[in-house]
């Protein structure tokens, strides 16, 4: 199992899983976040629970789920709760340590756009799906991890076309007291950007082996600063890859 054969999905899943060390409750969609959380459960976060946006807590699926509402997530789960309870008591109630989000655009404060591409919301160039629960995941999770396959100037922008899910800095400017730290980790094919909370920009914190600071800067739309203790990300270990490939996604549904 040589490191060279590691796919992008495997790499991102393994790196994200390490960031979940010690966490208890994760709000995650299907795909890389589920793979990361499932791997973390087997390695660095044995008590980890994945809460799905559909209301499933403590799933024990017979097959790897294809959607957050896959019937296999429900059968055998520990609890299935109504949506008002999920969003009201669990998410807004403050029970989520880490929420996973994706987005079409992210800026240096970790604000996210998943609504439209183009200047005019009313007549967008591209209509995207919108918030779903992203606005709430951002507002209420203790912290948010963003996993982006693509690290390029289209996604990492100086200015968002539209802010769907704001971080705490924008909330404060709007007179609203933020409850969480916002985006604290952005995990991409190039490395990891990180910030800790209010008033902090996303800085380059770690690089994948072989990637340079210049590579990342060239693909980031704002003037990216580098963390003082910039590190190189350890390659996925044989143990991590074995668990991921044999236990988490043996049919390679997501490990494309």
């Amino acid at each position: 199992m040589a490191a060279e054969t590691v796919t992008s999905s495997e790499l991102l899943s393994v790196v994200a899983s390490r960031e979940l060390a010690g966490r208890h409750a994760v709000f995650a969609g299907i795909g890389l976040p589920t793979l990361a959380a499932s791997l973390a459960h087997l390695t660095v976060a044995p008590d980890l629970e994945i809460v799905y946006e559909s209301g499933v807590c403590g799933a024990h699926p017979s097959h790897l789920p294809e959607t957050i509402a896959d019937a296999v997530l429900i059968t055998g789960a520990e609890a299935v709760i109504p949506m008002p309870t999920l969003f009201g008591s669990v998410l807004q109630g403050g029970h989520i340590d880490v929420g996973f989000l994706g987005a079409a655009q992210i800026d240096k404060w970790g604000n996210l756009n998943s609504s439209v591409i183009g200047d005019d919301w009313h007549r967008p160039k591209t209509r995207l799906p919108g918030s779903g629960g992203a606005n709430e995941v951002m507002a209420n999770s203790a912290e948010v991890f963003v996993v982006m396959r693509r690290h390029d100037l289209r996604s990492f922008t100086e200015e968002l076309d539209f802010c769907t899910s704001p971080g705490p800095d924008r909330a404060l400017a709007d007179g609203i007291r933020p409850l969480g730290a916002g985006v604290t980790r952005v995990i991409t094919e190039l490395g990891i950007l990180a910030r800790e909370g209010v008033g902090e920009e996303l800085k380059l914190a770690a690089l994948h082996p072989g990637v340079t600071v210049e590579d990342v800067k060239a693909n980031t739309g704002w003037e990216l600063r580098t963390s003082g203790d910039l590190s190189v990300i350890e390659r996925p270990s044989d143990a991590e890859l074995a668990l991921l490939r044999e236990d988490v996604d043996p049919e390679r549904v997501y490990l494309r």
Binding site: S54, V80, R127, S165, P166, D174
Partner: protein, 330 residues
């Protein structure tokens, strides 16, 4: 003394002319004819599970126009209703084909006003949930910790702020966003089973269906099967929607396809993936509607047209809940 009905002072939308004991079963055709009118505000709920697709198709068949559709996840059934020209306004928090791709008609309407503009009110999921809760609870607004710093309030003037009358944790006044209630003219949901009077039982993902029903002036429940009263009454906690909130019960097996009904049939993931392609091409989309909606007299024909082999592919096995004891006085 003559009994006169009190007029009260309420101008609230609620009617309480629903009866509990009567048989409310009717066909989908009858239910849509009776309860969905041109210009109505229609809520169709079901979060990825139990999506009332067959009801949407019947609305298309009956040619309803100028509807305001309220649905958290505006997905395939909404794209179909848009393409059929039923919808002039959409209120939603997610306009995508699940994680499987795009809604072609919705994007043409929003991005190009093709063939005509679509009025769109954008919320987040919890914003929609809170609107239903405010509607169900007859509240003037519902507070939520969303939207702070978002651009959504700039394009949706319904998102407003209230100052709490209690000091915040720092002793200073605290502001919070609120959403207004929604009271649909009719809410349509799909469920596994009900009795004839409308006591409706749902398991698996239960979404926001109960709140959407309570928020509505009229409610239509579409079910996989109508069961005897004894079945429902053996487990009253399973009744998510009591009969007093229901106006019509429609028996429509497999009416949630391509979504699923826990314990009845599985999700048709292939159709979700196919929809992005179908809907991207207006001609293909029109042909699909002609064949599968206008070309079928009702959902039973749609089901038959898909064929037994197809349904075998979505069949599920048994995983029965263990019974609990409600107790009996000795």
């Amino acid at each position: 003394m003559a009994v006169e009905s009190a007029t009260g002072t309420s101008d609230a939308p609620r009617t309480t002319d629903r009866t509990r004991a009567s048989d409310k079963t009717m066909t989908m055709r009858e239910a849509v004819a009776a309860h969905v009118r041109d210009g109505d505000t229609v809520s169709l709920e079901g979060f990825t599970h139990l999506i009332p697709t067959a009801a949407g198709h019947e609305i298309i068949r009956q040619g309803r126009r100028d509807l305001t559709v309220i649905r958290m996840t505006a997905d395939i059934v909404v794209d179909q209703m848009l393409a059929a020209g039923c919808v002039s306004r959409l209120v939603s928090s997610f306009v995508g084909n699940s994680s499987a791709g795009s809604l072609g008609e919705l994007r043409r309407r929003v991005e190009h006003a093709d063939p005509e503009p679509l009025a769109f009110e954008e919320y987040s999921h919890y914003g929609m949930i809170c609107r239903y809760m405010a509607g169900a609870q007859r509240l003037p607004f519902y507070p939520l910790r969303s939207y702070g710093g978002s651009d959504l309030p700039d394009v949706n003037p319904a998102l407003r702020k209230v100052t709490s009358p209690y000091p915040g944790p720092d002793g200073e006044p605290e502001e919070i966003y609120v959403v207004p209630p929604v009271n649909p003219d009719v809410t349509i949901v799909h469920a596994q089973r009900a009795d004839r009077s409308g006591n409706t039982q749902v398991w698996g993902l239960t979404g926001v269906q109960a709140e959407a029903v309570y928020a509505a002036r009229k409610a239509v429940v579409v079910v996989e099967e109508v069961v005897e009263d004894e079945v429902v009454r053996s487990d009253p906690n399973r009744t998510l929607i009591p009969a007093h909130a229901v106006d019509a019960v429609v028996v429509c097996p497999r009416g949630a396809h391509p979504s699923f009904a826990q314990g009845y049939y599985d999700r048709d993931n292939a159709f979700y993936r196919a929809w992005s392609g179908i809907s991207k091409d207006k001609e293909r989309l029109t042909a699909w509607l002609d064949e599968w909606v206008h070309g079928t007299g009702d959902h039973a024909e749609y089901v038959a047209k898909l064929g037994e082999e197809f349904w075998d592919g979505l069949a599920v096995g048994e995983a029965m809940s263990l019974p609990v004891n409600y107790g009996r006085r000795l």
